[in-house]
């Protein structure tokens, strides 16, 4: 389609050659003009991303200490890595990380596997009405996370939920909001929100697979399923690894869904995942320094994870 990779000549050109050029040729494509176009973005970037992270880092090395009985002014003092140690030693924080890991273990295979299966089905020669399916499958992505969590919270609530009542007529009584089921229940919300989005990405990648190769495979006697596994799948690995990367980063963002669900059930505590822990530290425990340290830890985890995923997927490609 329209969107080729940025490997056009201009993007591939190495940093400017130091050959003196005629000034006329320089004008309009040089550093000054570029600065003009880039300044707005980098100004916003500095204000909305760099400065807050640096300020949070600074805050995370300090602590407010009340003297004696807690009367009088709180004193701010440098405590080094003390806040980080406290966050990492907090059982609620590490419990949140454990929960998040478990969540990934459920969520990533379900969502990516589901998206892959659905995309392959849509790409199968016998599939009909692809455009309509694409639209319907993408529908949940137009629903904000808050609303998705609200809808599902009602769909999990006995008395309101059609799912619970259908299960009950079948003789199964399942409480989606109890301690055992709450994690899969939240995984399901995220799967619902994100599968369709990734189906579209994978389906587009599948449509770009040259039809001659598939035709050749068919002549050689490969069935649809065989062709899907040994031809289509390897060819869409790049798209799959991009999806993995963004999915892993996305799971660290988990906040909206459990915060909404926490109002419907006691199974979700106020420190259920690391982001909620940081929020709770700032607004309920009023310990901004610890909240800052927790935010930095979350950002670092994201950096390490995305580095690991890119490393892993680029090794796979080679």
């Amino acid at each position: 389609m329209v969107t080729q990779a940025p490997n056009t000549p201009s993007a591939a050109v190495k940093p400017i050659p130091r050959i003196p050029r005629k000034p006329r040729a320089m004008s309009g494509t040089g550093g000054r003009t570029a600065a003009l176009f880039l300044t707005p973005f980098f100004a916003v970037f500095a204000v909305a991303m760099v400065a807050p992270v640096i300020y949070a880092m600074v805050l995370s090395f300090f602590a407010q200490q009340k003297s004696g009985l807690g009367f009088g002014e709180a004193k701010t003092s440098f405590v080094g890595l003390e806040n980080y140690l406290q966050v990492l030693q907090s059982e609620t924080f590490t419990g949140g990380i454990g929960r998040l890991a478990l969540y990934c273990l459920f969520y990533i295979p379900c969502m990516v596997g589901g998206a892959l299966l659905f995309a392959l089905l849509m790409d199968a020669a016998v599939a009909r009405a692809r455009k309509l399916f694409q639209l319907l499958v993408f529908l949940p992505h137009a629903v904000p996370g808050v609303i998705a969590a609200l809808i599902w919270a009602y769909l999990y609530t006995p008395g309101v939920s059609p799912i619970v009542s259908v299960l009950e007529t079948g003789g199964i009584s399942l409480n989606f909001l109890d301690n055992q089921m709450i994690l899969p229940s939240i995984v399901n919300i995220a799967v619902w929100e994100w599968t369709g989005y990734n189906v579209i990405i994978l389906f587009t990648a599948l449509q770009a697979v040259p039809r001659e190769i598939l035709e050749a495979a068919r002549v050689d006697g490969a069935g649809e399923i065989r062709a899907a596994i040994s031809i289509k799948l390897p060819l869409i690995l790049p798209a799959l690894s991009v999806i993995m990367l963004f999915t892993v980063i996305g799971t660290l963002q988990l906040f909206t869904e459990p915060s909404i669900i926490s109002k419907a059930t006691a199974s979700v505590t106020s420190t259920w995942v690391p982001n909620m822990w940081a929020f709770d530290a700032a607004f309920n425990r009023h310990n901004l320094n610890q909240a800052a340290a927790a935010s930095i830890i979350i950002a670092l985890m994201a950096a390490v994870l995305s580095w690991a995923v890119t490393r892993f997927s680029s090794r796979n490609k080679a």
Partner: protein, 304 residues
């Protein structure tokens, strides 16, 4: 229960090139055609039914919500529910919707333009340190949003702009992924020869961006703006952290407050449900109208 919503699918003519349709007829027996399409319909039912439920639920009053079958229309209370949503707290819901619309449109239009300009510069201009600057943009793409929300709040409270519109309007301008997309679009849509011709004719770089580059990249701009719009509209943690004044809240946070009320006061439940339905209508309409754009955006972001 699923058939009512999706059984129409087989009657819609598949938009396939003739070549593929022929091979489909050849290779697929009735069995596999049935299995594949049945699985697709099942998957779509999972995607669509929760939203359909929301619609049915919004037609019921509190008693019917707990008392009637889920996909049955209750004592029709749809209009009553809408009036209740609109009249609560002196029409604060409309204010929330307007706020969401304003924040999202601001981020989409201005933030989109900022991203497009940067992406265009990365694609079309040569300058020292280009790779490192683009590396910074990519790092920005990989930092999870929620990890920067609290730091932003801490910094904003230093400047005393928490609980003001600025606390939302400044962050929504920053869209590193938009820069990445814009670079891809610029490479695909704007031929270097056109810009060269404009330069020869005496147009400066700014003039040629606004009168040539930007119009050529318009589909890309619309796509980036659309994604930014959705991102801002859906954002929950940022406004939750930054804003306390009810008059400034976007609709996502507003509805979550009503949900909090509905735990002790069940009469709020129909309002939460109806409000949710009303709040997703603008996005659903935008997505259906702008299908072509979001599809191309998803493609550009992933095909490397």
């Amino acid at each position: 229960m699923s058939t009512s919503t999706v059984s129409r699918t087989p009657t819609v003519a598949p938009a396939l090139p003739p070549k593929r349709r022929r091979s489909a007829a050849r290779s697929g027996g009735f069995g596999s055609t049935f299995t594949v399409n049945a699985l697709l319909i099942l998957g779509c039912a999972y995607m669509v039914l929760p939203v359909v439920w929301l619609f049915f639920a919004s037609t019921k009053n509190t008693a019917d919500l707990y008392g009637t079958a889920a996909y049955a229309l209750g004592e029709p209370a749809f209009l009553e529910n809408i009036m209740a949503v609109l009249n609560q707290d002196g029409g604060v819901f409309l204010r929330w919707m307007a706020n969401s619309m304003f924040y999202a449109a601001f981020g989409a239009i201005l933030g989109g333009l900022i991203s497009v300009m940067a992406g265009y510069a990365f694609d079309k201009f040569q300058f020292r340190g280009k790779d490192s600057f683009f590396g910074i943009v990519l790092v920005g793409v990989l930092i999870p949003n929620t990890a920067t929300v609290l730091p932003m709040y801490l910094l904003a409270s230093v400047f005393g702009i928490t609980n003001t519109m600025w606390a939302i309007l400044i962050p929504v301008l920053c869209n590193p992924f938009g820069v990445y997309l814009a670079r891809v679009y610029s490479a695909a849509y704007v031929p270097a020869e056109t810009l060269e011709a404009a330069r020869v004719d005496g147009a400066g770089p700014i003039r040629s961006f606004f009168s040539l580059g930007l119009p050529m990249m318009m589909p890309g701009y619309v796509t980036i703006a659309l994604f930014q719009f959705v991102g801002v509209w859906n954002n929950f943690m940022l406004p939750l952290v930054m804003l306390q004044d009810q008059q400034l809240l976007p609709v996502s946070v507003g509805i979550s407050i009503w949900q909090g009320y509905s735990v002790p006061q069940p009469e709020f439940t129909p309002m939460v449900i109806t409000g949710s339905l009303l709040s997703i209508i603008p996005l659903l309409v935008a997505f259906i109208m702008l299908q072509r754009f979001w599809k191309s955006g998803l493609t550009a972001g992933s095909v490397k």
